[in-house]
């Protein structure tokens, strides 16, 4: 399993309606981590129609890219929650005792946790 790498992203907290309507860059991956919060990976900039939106470059997460099969095998050992079904999904929860965010798209999967827990994640993968 590859080691976790720093995740380069934008993070935004804004009015949920503004996030619903935001024109996300086509190639960006937008992870809705809360009704009023997104993590945007692969975008040059983020425009949100909310004058009070907080938009910051985010260095607080790390991620591991793996196959969907690798992810599902690991989560079956480490997570109590039922995985979503479908070809593409995003979810969050505890796995191996760590707070994780999981994005699956086809056969690709991205496993995200705090950068401060990169070592713990690596040890538990």
């Amino acid at each position: 399993m590859p080691a976790p790498e720093p995740l380069v992203a934008w993070r935004a907290v804004a009015d949920p309606a503004a996030l619903d309507e935001a024109p996300w860059p086509q190639d960006a991956t937008v992870l809705r981590i809360a009704p009023d919060e997104v993590l945007v990976v692969g975008a040059g900039r983020v425009d949100i129609d909310d004058p009070h939106a907080i938009v910051e470059q985010e260095e607080g997460f790390c991620a591991v890219v793996m196959t969907r099969s690798e992810l599902e095998t690991w989560l079956a050992r480490t997570a109590e929650w039922r995985l979503p079904s479908g070809d593409s999904w995003f979810t969050q929860g505890s796995a191996a005792g760590l707070p994780v965010k999981v994005w699956v798209d086809g056969d690709r999967a991205l496993l995200i946790t705090h950068a401060s827990l990169a070592r713990d994640l690596e040890e538990r993968l």
Partner: protein
């Protein structure tokens, strides 16, 4: 194939269980054997694992078996590390436990309703250990623990045979009917067999009509005595006694579950036979509880089955009532005149090793700052504080201390909570969150603030920094950071405040630069002009974009540099290089504890209790009662009550008492020390302590550790604060 039983090699046949092999070779354990996994009479240490039921253990070549009696304790296991056991989690709609006819039929019915069903049965290699609320079923296969999360659990484990409770029940050579049938099918010679009740099929035996009275023999059964229908005792000599006393639901797993989540089908759901209440004998072999023991607690007023269980521990052993449940119910019905429902069973229903129990467990993770490796490379002794690895010291605490007091020092404070709040309602919102005034802060200014619970007790403390009209930067303690965002969001939602809240704790690093030469170092690093005390600004320090806060926790000039986490190492190393000739060195938490204690600064959770109000802490100056805020009502109410205790400063001669030491006034305990340490600068021991008030005040001296301590105002060091403001 050969097994090793108590160090002796015995022959076993392929496909049979260990208990059958023992009976075949004349090594049957004492007590009535059921071969159903219900009773506790065939326990053994098998390959180092205790409390294994031999009747459920298939033979394997070289298996090391050490049987022990139900009233004995197995030897402690070898302390050598064992292999980790894997855990797998599965989600299904229904778990059916038991692959007998009732279980299979129920599974088929459920599948007909297009429900996702899994059947578990130890005869098929999956042994169910426990049922927990959820429901969750924990099972063991050959190589892993499996946790099944289901919407429903169906127990179809059938019925067990009732064990005899009469004098002599503990003799060897007694079998239940099914056990006898099983052994004969396995080709085991039973000798002369006498049966009580329905005789075993396929077994050549004499059947004695009547009620079982006792078994006779020395260690092995030699005769069975019954009372025939005329009331006469009838005795028959035998080599093996077989009893059929009826059946009882094998419902241990069902009794572990939560009603509504777990149900039973088939014989596991029946009422079963309630045997006559025995006159004497051991009812619960696991806990050694006799009829006399039950009468004793009954006579003392324990009249409910659950209470009888708790008072005697009957039913709390390895079989969780497998043997005693019908007899306990019979006893309570006999004495009380009412048949009561069976009692709750507790996990586990089978033995489990520590490795298996730990299979699904994970150590709580410990966060690492971006400077973690830097600290370790510097030789820091790291410790876990507030959920983070932090440098406790770097090997020379004297040098670390004096670097702060005389020169300049760095401390990694990346662990502090850091939350950005913005929105049109931000001032109104924060005015309610904090007891301090918020609206009068102008951009660029910072204020220390308390965070109170509704009870008025101190939750946390930190800084409020105004960035612009609608934006504030809040800091929290390391320990409080984890809940700060949730606290803010809850109140924002509850008050419908139009604000955005972003927790930046894990995104940003923070380095505290402190000491008389701190300003000089930062000017070298790019700070354009000195920042006044309790102000903040954005700037580039050593090439790294930072938000710079001028404050002080150490009592010296201090700057906190909040910066992108990914630039922490670069910033730290550059500051260390630039300050080399200024004597810069890092300090750890051990020295920081001393520095802040000299200033009388509290650490929330160490110096405070849940009911530590600002008044008790002597921090009323941080509270504005002319506005509404979280905790105000409690402060107003408690403010009318005479003050009962305070957090005060104490000084005394060395050595420093242990934190937690009692404080005595007139030989009575009147409080305790929360923080204690030797002050190198003041050359005395300084302490913070909770002390009860006598007539509204703390006496000039108290006794700690058998010595006199002096009540001393705080701050102990630089009480005017001139050094921090320099």
């Amino acid at each position: 194939m050969e097994l090793i039983v108590d160090g002796e090699t015995i022959e076993a046949r392929d496909g049979e269980d260990v208990l059958t092999a023992l009976v075949r070779t004349g090594k049957a354990p004492a007590g009535c054997l059921c071969f159903g996994g219900d009773c506790p009479n065939c326990l053994a240490v098998v390959d180092g694992i205790a409390y294994v039921r031999m009747c459920r253990t298939p033979v394997r070549p070289g298996l090391d078996v050490r049987p022990f009696g139900v009233s004995e304790l197995p030897p402690l296991p070898d302390a050598s590390p064992t292999e980790a056991v894997l855990c797998r989690n599965e989600h299904v709609d229904v778990v059916v436990v038991g692959a007998g006819s009732a279980g299979v039929a129920e599974a088929e019915r459920l599948r007909g309703e297009e429900r996702d069903v899994v059947i578990l049965d130890d005869e098929q290699g999956v042994e169910v250990l426990a049922v927990y609320p959820g429901p969750e079923v924990v099972a063991r296969s050959d190589d892993e623990i499996v946790r099944y999360f289901a919407s429903e659990v169906v127990i179809a484990t059938g019925a067990m045979e009732i064990q005899p409770v009469v004098p002599g029940s503990e003799l060897t050579g007694i079998l239940t009917r099914r056990a006898a049938e099983r052994l004969v099918r396995a080709g085991v010679e039973l000798g002369r067999v006498v049966a009580v009740g329905t005789p075993p099929a396929g077994v050549d035996c004499e059947t004695l009509p009547g009620d079982l009275v006792r078994f006779e023999g020395e260690s092995r059964v030699e005769a069975v005595v019954v009372r025939d229908p005329t009331g006469e005792e009838v005795r028959r000599s035998c080599d093996t006694a077989v009893v059929d006393l009826g059946t009882y639901p094998r419902d241990v797993l069902a009794r572990m579950g939560v009603p509504g989540q777990v149900r039973t089908v088939g014989p596991a759901s029946g009422e079963g036979t309630i045997p006559p209440c025995p006159d004497r004998g051991v009812i619960c072999p696991c806990s050694g509880v006799t009829v006399e023991d039950l009468d004793s607690v009954w006579d003392r007023g324990f009249r409910e089955l659950e209470l009888v269980k708790r008072a005697t521990l009957a039913g709390t052993g390895t079989c969780q009532g497998g043997v005693c449940a019908p007899y306990l119910r019979s006893f309570v019905a006999d004495r009380g005149g009412r048949l009561q429902p069976s009692f709750t069973a507790r996990p586990l229903g089978r033995q489990m090793t520590m490795a298996e129990a730990a299979a699904a467990a994970h150590w709580p993770p410990i966060h690492r700052t971006a400077l973690d490796e830097v600290h370790r490379d510097l030789g820091a002794t790291m410790d876990r504080m507030g959920g983070w690895w932090r440098p406790w010291h770097y090997g020379d605490t004297d040098a670390e201390y004096w670097a702060v007091r005389r020169d300049v020092s760095l401390c990694d404070v990346s662990t502090l909570g850091k939350v950005l709040v913005r929105g049109p309602d931000v001032v109104e919102f924060l005015e309610y969150i904090y007891p301090s005034r918020v609206g009068d802060l102008t951009p660029g200014r910072t204020r220390y603030a308390l965070l109170l619970a509704e009870s008025g007790g101190l939750l946390d403390d930190g800084l409020i920094a105004r960035i612009d009209e609608h934006t504030f930067w809040l800091t929290f303690t390391t320990g409080g950071a984890g809940t700060a965002e949730a606290w803010l969001r809850d109140w924002a939602r509850g008050r419908r405040a139009d604000v955005r809240i972003m927790d930046r704790t894990h995104s940003l690093g923070a380095i505290n630069v402190t000491g008389p030469k701190a300003t000089q170092l930062l000017q070298r690093a790019g700070l354009i002009e000195p920042l006044p005390f309790m102000r903040h600004t954005e700037g580039t320090i050593a090439g790294v974009p930072c938000r710079v806060f001028r404050l002080s926790f150490t009592g010296e000039v201090s700057y906190e540099l909040h910066h992108p986490r990914g630039r922490s190492v670069e910033l730290w190393n550059r500051l260390m290089d630039l300050g080399a000739d200024l004597g810069v060195r890092p300090h750890g938490l051990q020295v920081l504890q001393t520095l802040r204690l000299e200033k009388g600064h509290i650490i929330v959770g160490m110096d405070t209790e849940p009911d530590s109000t600002p008044r008790r802490l002597g921090m009323e100056w941080a509270v504005r009662m002319d506005k509404d805020f979280v905790g105000r009502a409690a402060l107003e109410r408690t403010g009318r009550i005479p003050l009962d205790r305070r957090l005060v400063g104490l000084t005394m001669d060395a050595p420093a008492p242990t934190e937690g030491s009692a404080v005595y006034i007139d030989d009575e305990i009147a409080g305790y020390v929360t923080s204690s340490g030797w002050s190198p600068a003041l050359e005395t021991v300084v302490m913070l302590a909770w002390v009860d008030l006598l007539d509204g005040s703390v006496p000039p001296t108290v006794v700690v550790d058998g010595r006199t301590a002096h009540h001393t105002p705080t701050p102990f060091y630089d009480p005017e604060g001139a050094r921090a403001r320099a």
